[in-house]
């Protein structure tokens, strides 16, 4: 089971990184979302084997109990990444409104410096 989760985490990170390297903003955002899902699964796997819910009254005898801490961590992390993903989507929409395009532009100052260095090369 742990191997399966580990493989799934690897697939999520891999596809996430691939999407992150694209120039289109929506793909970048989807990539970040995939990586964050990978993260959450990884923390779940870090919590060890599953078991009974750790609630008073539900614990019977010496049956194994699930570790509640990773679930609390994941819940917090989900809320945070959800909020930031929404912010990124709003930013991407604003970028689309301003440029009517979904691609990340080059930096103007970078372009100027690149041009200066090629001019110096010609000289």
């Amino acid at each position: 089971m742990t191997v399966l989760v580990a493989a799934l985490v690897a697939v999520l990170y891999g596809t996430g990184v691939y999407l992150l390297l694209q120039r289109t903003l929506t793909r970048v955002i989807l990539g970040l979302a995939l990586i964050s899902h990978g993260c959450h699964l990884l923390i779940m796997a870090a919590g060890g084997p599953s078991g009974l819910a750790p609630l008073v009254g539900l614990i019977r005898g010496d049956e194994p109990v699930a570790d509640p801490l990773p679930q609390a961590l994941i819940l917090t992390a989900i809320v945070i990444t959800f909020g930031i993903t929404v912010f990124l989507l709003a930013l991407a929409y604003r970028s689309f409104q301003l440029t009517s395009d979904d691609e990340v532009e080059d930096d103007i100052e970078d372009r100027r410096i690149a041009r200066r260095s090629t001019e110096a090369g010609d000289w």
């Binding site: 990773p70 930031i84 930013l91 100052e109």
Partner: protein, 495 residues
Amino acid sequence: MRFLLPAPVALPLLFAALAVVFSRSRAAQRTCSIVGVSAAVAVAVALLVIVERDGVQSVTIGGWPAPVGISLVADLFSCMVLLIGLVTVLVVLVYATGQRGADDLPAFHPAYLVLTAGVALAFLTGDLFNLYVAFEITLTASYVLITLGGRRTQVRHGMTYVVVNLLASLLFLTGIGFVYAATGTLNLASLSEVIPTLPDGVRLALGLLFFVVFGIKAAMFPLFNWLPDSYPTAHSPVTAVFAGLLTKVGVYCIIRTQTLLFPETEPSVLILVVAGLTMVVGVLGAVAQNDMKRILSFHIVSQIGYMLLGLGLFTVSGLAAAVLFLIHQIPVKTSLFLTSGLVEESSGSTALDRVGGLLRRAPLTAALFGLAALSLAGIPPFSGFVGKLSLIEAGFGAREYVIVAVALLVSLFTLFSMAKIWNGVFWGEAEEPVPVVAEGPAKAHGALIMNGATVVLVGVTVAIAVFAGPIYELSERAAQSLLDPSAYVSAVLGR
């Protein structure tokens, strides 16, 4: 006294909520912000006094005992950085109230206060996951501040900033997952006891992962490219507070985790190499730029290298120098960006070929920039000199002569690019001047506030130089407790 520990986090959050309630009145929002941050500064002073007298203070939130509950810890290092950071935040806040257009949007003050709370939490937390939350609080507020207004360049560069920092946060979360899987705890104090028992390979992997994560936040080589790209586009008070604080929070976390969790007994080659490359690449980037704000942004990167140098030596004098340099760098960097804001306000631009001759038109700005720039370059008797001198002495003490030579050479280049700004902005005439707008009485009042705030902050840097002796003594004690964390651990775990 324990109720004081959460106060630097709770007070700004409380006043942020109030600032949201009063979002229709800018005067009320300003009052909320200034009262909130001032109260946090007062608490930080009290904390420093208490910790200096009684040693490490710790409190667990929610009543659960230490390794289970979330700990807040104040030791000498965190208290010193907290105090200077909050003072800087307060001065920049006053500056922002004077600048036209800086706090016009109702989201500014709440976001600024939340940023303050996040920075304070990052300095005070004693728990790895809580540190992640602190980072996210800070970053989310900074995402809002950097894109506030939604202009095209801001959206373009804000995007880079958000994506890079979000990726770093996800890597941090991955690291937290690994640490929990390996040790079963996230409390820094109990981690410092468990991690030395792990196999060497696991320890190395975890240490490197955290070094990379905080390295992205601190903008060290080769992970700095996002910084000079995104910082200059925001309003100058926002850039100033980011420059002064956010990367330094990353450095603080590198120092904290590398000394507490992954301590070394001799100079770390990896950290020293990274420190040297960060200094050199940062300063060469600055030399190539042609805009005041961008030059200063590259200098942020370059100066991070000096702090890493102090850490990489892993000696008391090295860490003391790193702490002192961190303390000096926060107000100096911020005041340089505040003066660039003054230049922008009076000339309409910060591009070196579009402004000129400000020495005659704005002698006060020139004087303030000159003082801060000399301090950054490390000219005696200013605060940068004290910081660099102690770093170089520590380097000689540890017999790391190469890195000392690099540090000295980089100082020279720093002076050179400061002279370039001086020549371009304060001497000579503009090549393509920006048309000057007529000044109104409201603007004059704002300019008075902005100049006053910058004078205060430059005064702080001069004070650091004047009281360098006692501050170095404190830094040395902070460094000793960093290298021997037994007091920290016993204060948190109650043994």
